[in-house]
């Protein structure tokens, strides 16, 4: 009897069609596999299969010293490696009870905000590509290139930067650092207008994103969604304001929030976040304090036994590090709360009742990086 009822649910009494999306698929942003239960093109349920990119980062941490583990965190969210590094360094600093010098803090803030812009640019380009707009991707990559050039000049690497060290910075900012950042920020205001021209008022774009993947504030909190997804639902929660870290308490910036919690709102929130990040960078380069760049940390790090949880506002949401120390040079346990992994839970809730094409838009708007989901 129950089977009959289930059959009637679908059109023409036909069985549900199970469509495997991924792990090789152009728009699952890596190796995500989604099992879609379909009635025609309407999604009746989704099931995420993850783990294709699992490298056991947390286990690796237990066999590395604190400094040795730092480059590994860059490989989690590889489009926002600087933010990952910041979270890890600050967590270990908290465990060691040392503080980075003011100069290091400001440079960290600039780098992290540039990384936020770069991460959002990758999101915007791929999201637009998923919805079928080909051109924004290349414009976004053009701007991201400028940011990566700054990273390259600063620390020699572009993607997995390992830009910071526990206790401060390894490298002094190069000579024309401020000038480069300023030139980028000045340029970026004009460039961001190009994306707005291409997408914001476009009726196809609005039709594809408005009322798609709606997630209200209560759902967001229940599912643990954070970052732009939470803010697009109208919750004004940003750790840069709520629990200021690095040098964020020194700068003025707004936290953009949305109202409907749909894909279009998330798009608007992220666009505004890029503008705000640009403003933070401009404020920060005005006045970079002089002084040392590395705090008082020894060559061998032996934090006292204990545990610590530190979280930062990464581009994709709240990135948390839980570190347990047993007093040796290696952490006893490291647990990472990656924003992508937690946000991905919302996929089923958001995709149900929509069409296949919307699933693609929703995966795009969740802004997941599989390196971080699987770790």
């Amino acid at each position: 009897m129950q089977d009959d009822a289930a059959q009637k649910q679908t059109l023409l009494g036909a069985d549900e069609l199970v469509l495997n999306m991924g792990p090789q698929h152009p728009s699952t942003h890596g190796v995500l596999r989604v099992k879609l239960k379909l009635d025609g093109e309407r999604v009746r349920g989704t099931e995420c299969v993850i783990g294709y990119l699992h490298r056991g980062v947390e286990k690796i941490a237990e066999n590395r010293t604190y400094q040795q583990f730092a480059p590994y965190v860059d490989r989690m969210d590889y489009v926002a490696a600087v933010s990952n590094g910041l979270g890890y360094c600050e967590a270990v600093e908290k465990l060691l009870n040392v503080e980075a010098p003011p100069r290091a803090k400001v440079i960290r803030t600039i780098m992290t905000e540039l990384q936020r812009i770069a991460s959002h640019l990758v999101w915007l380009g791929t999201h637009a590509l998923d919805i079928g707009a080909l051109t924004p991707l290349f414009y976004c990559m053009r701007e991201r290139e400028e940011i990566l050039k700054i990273f390259e000049k600063y620390c020699g690497a572009r993607l997995t930067t390992h830009a910071f060290r526990i206790g401060g910075l390894q490298y002094e900012a190069y000579d024309s650092f401020e000038k480069d950042v300023e030139r980028f920020c000045k340029d970026f205001e004009r460039r961001i207008q190009e994306y707005v021209d291409l997408l914001t008022g476009n009726s196809i774009w609005i039709g594809r994103t408005r009322n798609v993947g709606v997630l209200n504030a209560a759902d967001c909190i229940a599912l643990g969604a954070s970052g732009p997804i939470l803010r697009a639902s109208g919750v004004k929660w940003d750790l840069r304001k709520a629990q200021p870290y690095a040098a964020y308490d020194q700068y003025k910036f707004e936290i953009p929030v949305g109202t409907n919690g749909d894909t279009y709102d998330r798009y608007m929130v992220r666009m505004e976040e890029m503008r705000q990040s640009r403003l933070i960078c401009l404020q920060a380069i005005e006045n970079i304090p002089a002084g040392p760049i590395l705090g008082k940390v020894g060559k061998v790090l032996k934090p006292p036994a204990g545990e610590i949880y530190h979280s930062i506002e990464a581009p994709k949401g709240i990135l948390g590090y839980y570190i347990v120390s047993d007093g040796t040079t290696q952490p006893y346990r490291v647990h990472i709360r990656p924003p992508s992994f937690v946000n991905l839970q919302a996929l089923d809730k958001m995709a149900r009742g929509h069409l296949v094409a919307d699933v693609v838009a929703i995966i795009g708007t969740l802004d997941i990086v599989l390196g971080e989901v699987d770790r």
Binding site: Q9, L11, L17, L19, N20, H25, P26, S27, D39, G40, E41, R42, A128, L129, D130, I131, G132, A133, L134, T135, L137, F138, Y139, R142, L198, L199, N202, I204, W205, G207, R208, R210, N211, K349, R352, G353, L355, V356, A357, D358, V360
Partner: protein
């Protein structure tokens, strides 16, 4: 002269145009298709702040050849569970339909395979629609979920938009009063104005519907890369895939040719009856010569000697074409060739412009969702096309029975049609707002997108 030679000449006089056109269609269209792809990639690169293909030949000019060779020698994969016969047949059907449709097209007053068939336009539209079978069969035979979904989308989309396109064509045909390609262009010559200006609404509807018919962005849902991987072509590779590809691009030429013939004056030059603009007849020769000069100037700047030679070869080819176009203008006994050659030039130029529009839209716009696509087709384009057919009919009666000025009548009817369009759009917005708020997250489907 011997009677045999006479017979041969007589035979050639009757058949040479058809022969040349046929050979061009079968042998050269694949090449043209390759270069359309190159043009598309280059234009896309230009709009996206990058260079596009640059490696094979100067500025990637030999890229299509390299692509074709690659596709030909690629391993031919047929999935185990596929219906092998149908899998083999489907791309052939698709390509054959597109190439056969070209037989009906007149590339200028002199070049047409099926000369003077009475149902010319109907033949083109009908035969090119047969390509749909290739898509459906291919999607079904692949035995893959993505393929079948792409094929289903394609069927629904093509059937819907074929209707809109057909009704838009009817508006134009009402004015021409015939289906014969040559007579349609002659009618535009005698009316002195292209039908596209007399029925802008019909032209617009046809332009939109023809984009959908050829599966181009923003209506490229059957092969939406980011959703269905490659739609009905997912399981195809190598030469079979190339057949589909060829059919698709050949179809673009076909719809471009239909739009040009019916709405853009066919092979007529701009303002064909304004005599002080007769110097426009020299434009084809001058234009090709200018392209040749440009290539010659660029030749010196090529980095590799092969590229320099290639550029010179292109320049010389352009000069040769320019000469062929220019000689009949200057030499009185050859004057009879002018309309044919110039007609072909203008016709191809108009098709190129039309296809450029397609490409431009593809680079600019995001993709429609399936239900939105169906709404646009059934709730806006088709009603609009019907109203427009009626309005054009009324205008014809006003002109013939009551002696209204043609332009006056058409301005009135166009305004009427546009008002209907606005009304439909508002209605659609209201419905869309109601529909989105009514869909509960887990509720049953409120409408069936495939119902159309």
């Amino acid at each position: 002269m011997s009677p045999t030679l006479h017979a041969v000449i007589a035979f050639l006089q009757t058949w040479w145009v058809e022969l040349v056109s046929g050979v061009v269609i079968v042998a050269v269209v694949p090449l043209i298709t390759g270069y359309m792809v190159l043009m598309e990639r280059k234009l896309m690169a230009d709009m996206q702040a990058r260079l596009g293909p640059m490696r094979v030949g100067p500025h990637g000019l030999l890229q299509p050849i390299a692509d074709a060779v690659k596709l030909l020698i690629k391993e031919d994969i047929i999935p185990d569970d596929a219906d092998k016969m149908v899998f083999w047949l489907a791309p052939v059907v698709s390509m054959t339909a597109a190439l056969t449709a070209m037989a009906g097209i007149a590339f200028g007053p002199a070049f047409e395979v099926a000369r003077d068939i009475n149902v010319g336009l109907l033949f083109i539209v009908g035969v090119s629609s047969l390509g749909l079978f290739g898509i459906v069969l291919g999607g079904w035979a692949s035995n893959s979920h993505y393929s079948i979904m792409g094929a289903l989308r394609s069927t629904a989309q093509l059937v819907s938009y074929e209707t809109a396109a057909g009704l838009a064509l009817v508006s134009g045909l009402l004015m021409a009063g015939t289906l014969n390609i040559r007579a349609i262009v002659d009618a535009q010559y005698s009316s002195g104005v292209w039908f596209g200006f007399l029925t802008p609404v019909a032209f617009f509807i046809y332009a939109v519907a023809s984009i959908a018919e050829t599966n181009r962005a923003p209506f490229d849902l059957p092969e939406a890369e980011s959703e269905l991987v490659a739609g009905y072509m997912t399981e195809y590779s190598g030469f079979r895939w190339a057949c589909y590809f060829l059919g698709e691009y050949a179809n673009m030429i076909v719809v471009g040719a239909v739009a040009t013939t019916l709405f853009l004056g066919g092979w007529l030059r701009p303002f064909p009856r304004v005599h002080w603009l007769n110097w426009l007849d020299a434009v084809p020769a001058l234009f090709t010569a200018a392209v040749g000069v440009y290539c010659a100037l660029r030749a010196g700047k090529q980095p590799v000697r092969v590229q320099v030679w290639f550029m010179w070869a292109v320049a010389l080819a352009c000069f040769a074409v320019a000469l062929i176009l220019a000689v009949p203008l200057a030499v009185a006994p050859l004057k009879f060739m002018v309309p044919g050659l110039n007609g072909a030039f203008w016709f191809l130029l108009k098709i190129t412009g039309y296809i450029y529009l397609f490409m431009w839209l593809r680079f600019t716009l995001p993709r429609y969702r399936f239900d939105q696509l169906m709404h646009l087709g059934w709730y806006i384009l088709i009603p609009l096309a019907i109203v427009n057919v009626l309005a054009v009919g009324v205008a014809m009666i006003l002109e013939m029975e009551y002696g209204w000025n043609r332009w006056l009548a058409l301005i009135v009817t166009t305004i009427l049609t546009l008002a209907t369009a606005l009304f439909l759009l508002r209605l659609n917005d209201k419905r869309a707002a109601a529909a989105t708020s009514a869909v509960p997250p887990e509720g049953p489907a409120t409408e069936d997108s495939y119902a159309g």
